[in-house]
Symmetry: D2
Subunit: 311 residues, 4 copies
Amino acid sequence: MPQTPPTRFAYLGPEGTFAEAALSSVVAPGEGVRQPAASVPAALAAVRAGESDAALVPLENSVEGPVPATMDGLSDGAPLVITREVFLTVAFVLAVRPGTRLADVRGVVSHPHALAQTARTLAGLLPGVPALPASSTAGAARAVAEGEHDAAVCAPIAAERYGLVPLADDVADHPGAVTRFVLVAPPGALPAPTGNDKTSLVAVVGDRTGALLDLLAEFAVRGISLTRIESRPTRERLGVYSFSLDCEGHVADARVGEALAALHRVCDDVRFLGSYPRDDGRTNRPVPDVAADAAFADAGAWLDRLRAGQV
Amino acid sequence: MPQTPPTRFAYLGPEGTFAEAALSSVVAPGEGVRQPAASVPAALAAVRAGESDAALVPLENSVEGPVPATMDGLSDGAPLVITREVFLTVAFVLAVRPGTRLADVRGVVSHPHALAQTARTLAGLLPGVPALPASSTAGAARAVAEGEHDAAVCAPIAAERYGLVPLADDVADHPGAVTRFVLVAPPGALPAPTGNDKTSLVAVVGDRTGALLDLLAEFAVRGISLTRIESRPTRERLGVYSFSLDCEGHVADARVGEALAALHRVCDDVRFLGSYPRDDGRTNRPVPDVAADAAFADAGAWLDRLRAGQV
Amino acid sequence: MPQTPPTRFAYLGPEGTFAEAALSSVVAPGEGVRQPAASVPAALAAVRAGESDAALVPLENSVEGPVPATMDGLSDGAPLVITREVFLTVAFVLAVRPGTRLADVRGVVSHPHALAQTARTLAGLLPGVPALPASSTAGAARAVAEGEHDAAVCAPIAAERYGLVPLADDVADHPGAVTRFVLVAPPGALPAPTGNDKTSLVAVVGDRTGALLDLLAEFAVRGISLTRIESRPTRERLGVYSFSLDCEGHVADARVGEALAALHRVCDDVRFLGSYPRDDGRTNRPVPDVAADAAFADAGAWLDRLRAGQV
Amino acid sequence: MPQTPPTRFAYLGPEGTFAEAALSSVVAPGEGVRQPAASVPAALAAVRAGESDAALVPLENSVEGPVPATMDGLSDGAPLVITREVFLTVAFVLAVRPGTRLADVRGVVSHPHALAQTARTLAGLLPGVPALPASSTAGAARAVAEGEHDAAVCAPIAAERYGLVPLADDVADHPGAVTRFVLVAPPGALPAPTGNDKTSLVAVVGDRTGALLDLLAEFAVRGISLTRIESRPTRERLGVYSFSLDCEGHVADARVGEALAALHRVCDDVRFLGSYPRDDGRTNRPVPDVAADAAFADAGAWLDRLRAGQV
């Protein structure tokens, strides 16, 4: 299964979003075609339709939590897998046309989430000035550039793109919010294990006491740490739970492979969402010797001998 | 600890939101004072400040997922507890001023989430008509009432409140989305057990393999089912995880009380978020005899005898 | 690994023991050479030395418990595996030379264990008559045949062998005692799975809280039932525990094989003691679908596809 | 429940057994009345009948394994509890009448277990000399004293009691065998916790996958280590297992008490067999802070506040 590296990248647009900034951090300028999509579903659809080779979409945000459109978009429909993760600090700027001063600002426009995350800072900088909604932070920047509004809360990349200048940097009330983006592609050759990988999956289990416990036991007995778990609603089927989780390790690792195979047996459904290099600045917990590939290989060889009568 | 029933209710405003509709389903008309708040944090702050007796806020949505502002607002700050849950089907209408016809609509305004959830339906009803952002679905309705826009996607209660009429009902692309609201109040006398209750809590555990498994084992050994679990980021402390979860049963139940006490021992931190009647239309799993209060009472009496030397 | 069926059988002698009776139940008369051994270690040594092809020895008794000589003899030394199990009801008879009547009996001789298990019955039949020790129940029968004593408590086979007749059948105080014998042989082709098999092993684990729990979890997560477990002293190494256990299933079964391989990884030491047809008159618990070979095969094929990038 | 210290001690006789030696190590000479019993059941019956205040009986032997008569005698019948444990090194001597030399010995008499444990040493010392069975090692010593036989394998205390002298000390093939004796008494005031205690119990569980695992989980979640576990046959009821186990800690400890109460709920039956000072020369594992009494007390107080509405 040889695989051409992706060259056409969809991302959650419009131009100037944090998603574009995240994409820029993994694709060098001029290296591929960047295709803004109107929504996460649209970005994923572009990949499924073969119009894009990969899509860069947000998966979770340290302030806003998981991004349901991405979670659901990966859980349903034709399979897609995560091939990279990108963590981006969400640094909002208050952007204006060159020459605008604070005193000139009669309204601040942005996506409601961005307005919510900067409300207190804006109240300090611009007391009494109304906050106006926009469809996206990038759209807000464009509206300012076009003269519709005086100031936008947006990403630095959007300010730059639309010729705006920051009146204030880092206007978030709780600076340091981070968004985790993922690059998703059609199934194909997996990223090679790096020794510091994550694996993502969605598991659907029946509604009984201990179902989640049983699921987690499959990881625990094999010495695998989870880094994220969420229950997801499965509204279609009453009494059935879906869990979205990330664990340390790569499906090519013996322990992770055996755990996934076990989930395949015991869960109602399991969808593999990819193994990819960990990129959140942390290092996986050391794998205990008894869970390392060598231990699995030894144990497998021993079992083969047992079964052949060569105890 | 006698407790006066709440009479002043904050809710996520403005007037005409689904939160107000949810509040109306639990407080009879004319029975209390309703106080719209600009945001979830504002609603919770009003309760903490004693300006409201309780707040009605969204906790999770079957389409959008958990509501971080509520999750975080309950996890941090002065303690608040959930005293009721309310499930409300989110039925969007396309609302216009009386007399407006589909052909007259040149723009549809709403909160971006609502626009996202109705995009396909709107594209069918109003091809080519632009979607315009508003700060809330209720604000969108008001803007239409005031003649700023032609049509709003909003809650039926907002249409009614602002004198609008529905051009189309149930315009969600995936009808049936449900939002779970909770009524939160300062700690005080707990709602009495009904036999069909839920208990919510947030537990913080150290970052080690099996920490979550150990946490879940405390529920499993006592025959308690979980109905929701999510890992929450605790960005302040690297390597520490926070889990938000709901289980079946009431803290007054022996099994739930013992499980909570166990979490108090083994977790870095546990915050109790309330025991309240289950109201999602489902019934708790039958409690096994060995986990019922009578079994705990028998076992406790037996242990007392053992310790007194009366085997 | 073709294997000639065993033809030379050691057993715990002397002639006339319950072990010989057990051997007779699995080897047709005239079908092999039977070699009485002076002790369990002697019987096992004969197999290890190649002087016998297999040995029939007691493993546990429903009254006396495990037989340490056999447990330890299998755990240590050159590997031997169990190829059959035989359950024999231990029906003691009070045997005399023809013509002896109860009133003639001035002493009853037997192995102390047999005397202990029949003390009450003998006190009723022969009040005031002394009980005299012998090295084995068969030796006691021979002593009676040779006129040294008047009556022996022994196996029916011993009475028959030495020309004695029973004055009373079933003289055990608690009738129905059962001894579990095993036929052990050098490693070689395993008995074919029958669908109702047991697997025996000894596992050595370090001395830490939860070591046994972890060990058992390897069986539980794979849907395997245990039928026996005992902690065995490992006096040589302080702080190390050895567990001897039997589980349902055959090492050729995927779930059992994977569990054994897991033990091989996580335990300090594991010794496989054989997979053989269950013969205690019970049937293994039904294997859940998710733990059946087909489920393992499906899961393995699915994992192979994942790893090949063919989700 | 004040309790007079025991003064009448039954022990597994006859005089001169290792049981008497064990008793001597816990009761000063002249301090109580010592009553040899013909068997373990007889010793236990004497306590149950009020003829003795306590009984000293063997529970397990490092060579011979558990002593079924004691295990079963404590599991069934009127309740008895262990109040002490005593570990005694089983040092066999080859005892003769003064003046007898090795060359004079024409037969060696002892209990068959003792003969089995010394067979190799005896074969070296006395090649070709026959081994003759006796009902007990002490009885063998007496028979030598009375001139019936030339030499006995027995305890040093038996040699001394019957005026014999050792021709050879420590004639066990594997020196260092240890027998664990227990002092059992009717229920009454428990021995005070010492910080280094053990608790013994027998639990009966239904026959289903994971029953034992569930049982062990009750200890593991509360940070309690097991020091012994055995499955015991429960022949009366097919498909039911009985487990005999020892854990670290005292029933007065919060974690042990809660675990026992949990077993009382989830098991078919639990019999408490006592909490008593550990006396095997080892020290209990340190109790994790989260499982200490203080943590349980804190957690209980916290729960009380929760339930009172004082979060």
